[in-house]
């Protein structure tokens, strides 16, 4: 456990070291967030509520989803494992006496925490300055949001890890990565908070579910009441699959050397 936290700390420091990149990412996320909010407001066209969300909710929704881009790597920009397999760096990792799955988990988690703290909170603070936004009504709602945010990261990590693992079997997995992230981006409700985009269960636990907890909205999907409680199980399922495929990947690497 000590090693896990040390690795988290190191990856936290690493992410902080890229100051210009962090700032550029923040500005870009803010710019497109404001653009998305403006488009949504135009779509509302003086109507107060659409699909259970007020104008204020919808604007907050764009802010929340923008704030989660870097934290959840929604655009699939982190191909660290894929690159490590192709560059052979994974071989030097295998020379270290530790289980590499938690190693990658810690490596990604530290960086994501920086993204959440630096980008996420700054984006929400900027939104609060520019737009009227909806805030959680009570502490319980805030706790539910925090828990769902953590579970969202678990789902996101396991999903990205699975996609990255394809590098063990194909010569160039960039295409698979792009396809997977485009689909998940579309299905997790990033573009619009509309029902028909959010029917794929794992995807809704990325940024859609945390945003709804934050807004204190009843589930607009028409799913049963227990649906939100599925998040940990969905996360655990994808997580276990990722761990299993990691073992297959390493075995394949050890037998082929590539």
């Amino acid at each position: 456990m000590r090693l896990f936290w040390e690795l988290c700390k190191i990856s936290f420091q690493r992410q902080l070291a890229y100051r210009a990149s962090n700032l550029a990412g923040l500005v870009t996320n803010l710019f497109f967030g404001v653009l998305r909010a403006a488009i949504l407001l135009a779509l509302y066209d003086n109507r107060e509520v659409i699909a259970g969300l007020t104008q204020r909710d919808a604007v907050t929704y764009t802010g929340l989803t923008q704030a989660m881009i870097a934290y959840l790597h929604l655009f699939g920009v982190n191909n660290g494992l894929m690159n490590a397999v192709y560059s052979g760096e994974v071989a030097t990792d295998l020379l270290k006496p530790m289980n590499l799955f938690p190693f990658w988990l810690a490596k990604e988690f530290g960086g994501s925490v920086v993204n959440l703290l630096l980008r996420g909170t700054t984006i929400m603070a900027a939104y609060a300055l520019v737009f009227p936004i909806t805030l959680p009504d009570n502490p319980l709602q805030g706790v539910a949001f925090a828990v769902s945010l953590l579970l969202a990261w678990q789902v996101s990590f396991a999903f990205r890890f699975l996609v990255n693992l394809s590098a063990f079997w194909v010569l160039n997995a960039q295409g698979i990565g792009r396809l997977a992230f485009t689909v998940s981006w579309f299905l997790c409700g990033f573009l619009f908070p509309l029902r028909f985009f959010t029917f794929v269960v794992p995807a809704i636990f990325l940024n859609y579910a945390p945003a709804l907890y934050f807004l204190g909205q009843p589930d607009p999907l028409g799913l049963p009441a227990f649906a939100p409680f599925l998040a940990p199980f969905v996360g655990a399922g994808i997580f276990l699959a990722a761990m299993r495929f990691w073992q297959y990947g390493i075995r394949h690497y050890q037998s082929t050397g590539s």
Partner: protein, 330 residues
């Protein structure tokens, strides 16, 4: 000898995709998958005793790195037996790699964007090195490898020589009894090479660390290795001492003579005139047939000599001849 490494009948066959040429070939490549099976390592056996410093040599594609990957547990062989430190490298990866150190010259095991010292601190946790031992080793390696000027510099900003020194330190912080070095001096200048060589020698002598070294720089081998293993096309060609290799395949020794005056005829029995330029002549002679002192005696008896020097056959030339002329293939 009680071997720390024991390799028996090691084989590794790699599948390499086959590509067909032409328009039909393109179509064929698209719908079928055909492979050539390449024997990267083909029935190699050897033992390495504790405390030995062995050079593992061979031309490009000979199978050196594949063997090293198997010995470090990164690859599973197709056939054969390997026991290192009493363990099968690829079977118990985590416990096995804790007992070895490895440096791959082309790659770093350190964290690219972290200062060297922070990478080393992290390795302390990874290898569970007790704090006092960590401190003791760090102090010793800081001194031997002169790490202080760049200990707090991010790895990405280090020169190649500095990075290699930091990597060597990282590979030895946990006191492994066995060290694998894959081209540790590649791309380094002469001063950096010498510093690395001297460090490897000291680690081997003072700590008794067994070292397996692959390199294309034969000065490394000449200066460090008492024993060399040569492989080509995955097969073991030679396993023995460097002097013996030189004796068998080293070619001629040379004697360079500066005469005091011009002579028309400078032939001496048992030696061949390899070149002549003004008053200087170079003789070639076989170690087994004529000693240097005998040749000098014969020359001094016939001619007035100002100066002379003996040149031993170059290891690099010997190895080049072995690769090129396939002297060990039989």
């Amino acid at each position: 000898m009680n071997p720390i490494i024991s390799v028996r009948g090691l084989e590794k066959r790699l599948r390499v995709g086959k590509h067909h040429r032409g328009k039909l070939g393109l179509l064929r490549n698209l719908v079928t998958r055909e492979y050539n099976v390449i024997p990267a390592v083909d029935g190699i056996s050897f033992d390495v005793g504790a405390g030995e410093l062995v050079g593992y040599l061979g031309p490009n594609g000979a199978g050196k790195s594949t063997t090293l990957k198997i010995l470090t547990g990164l690859l599973v062989p197709t056939a054969g037996e390997v026991r290192v430190n009493g363990q099968v490298p690829w079977k118990e990866r985590v416990s096995y790699v804790a007992t070895i150190g490895a440096v791959f010259g082309q790659r770093t095991t350190l964290w690219w964007d972290l200062p060297v010292i922070e990478s080393l601190d992290l390795l302390q946790h990874i290898y569970r090195i007790p704090p006092d031992r960590f401190r003791r080793n760090l102090d010793r390696f800081r001194e031997l490898l002169e790490l202080d000027p760049f200990l707090h510099t991010p790895v990405r900003s280090l020169s190649l020589g500095q990075r290699m020194r930091a990597d060597l330190c990282a590979a030895l912080m946990h006191d492994p009894p066995l060290l694998f070095l894959d081209e540790p001096t590649i791309g380094l200048d002469v001063v950096a090479k010498e510093r690395i060589r001297s460090f490897i020698r000291r680690v081997n002598e003072e700590r008794g660390t067994t070292v397996i070294l692959t390199t294309h720089d034969l000065s490394d081998v000449e200066k460090l290795c008492g024993r060399v293993i040569i492989i080509d096309h995955g097969k073991l060609l030679y396993d023995g001492g460097l002097p013996d290799l030189q004796r068998r395949f080293g070619g001629k020794r040379e004697l360079v003579v500066d005469f005091a005056e011009e002579y028309q005829e400078i032939v001496v029995e048992g030696a061949e005139v390899l070149g002549r330029e003004g008053l200087r002549a170079t003789y070639g002679f076989e170690r087994d047939r004529l000693s240097a002192s005998d040749l000098i005696g014969r020359l001094s008896a016939k001619y007035r000599i100002l100066d002379l020097s003996v040149r031993e056959p170059d290891v690099e030339d010997t190895i080049r001849r072995i690769y090129k002329e396939r002297l060990l293939d039989a």
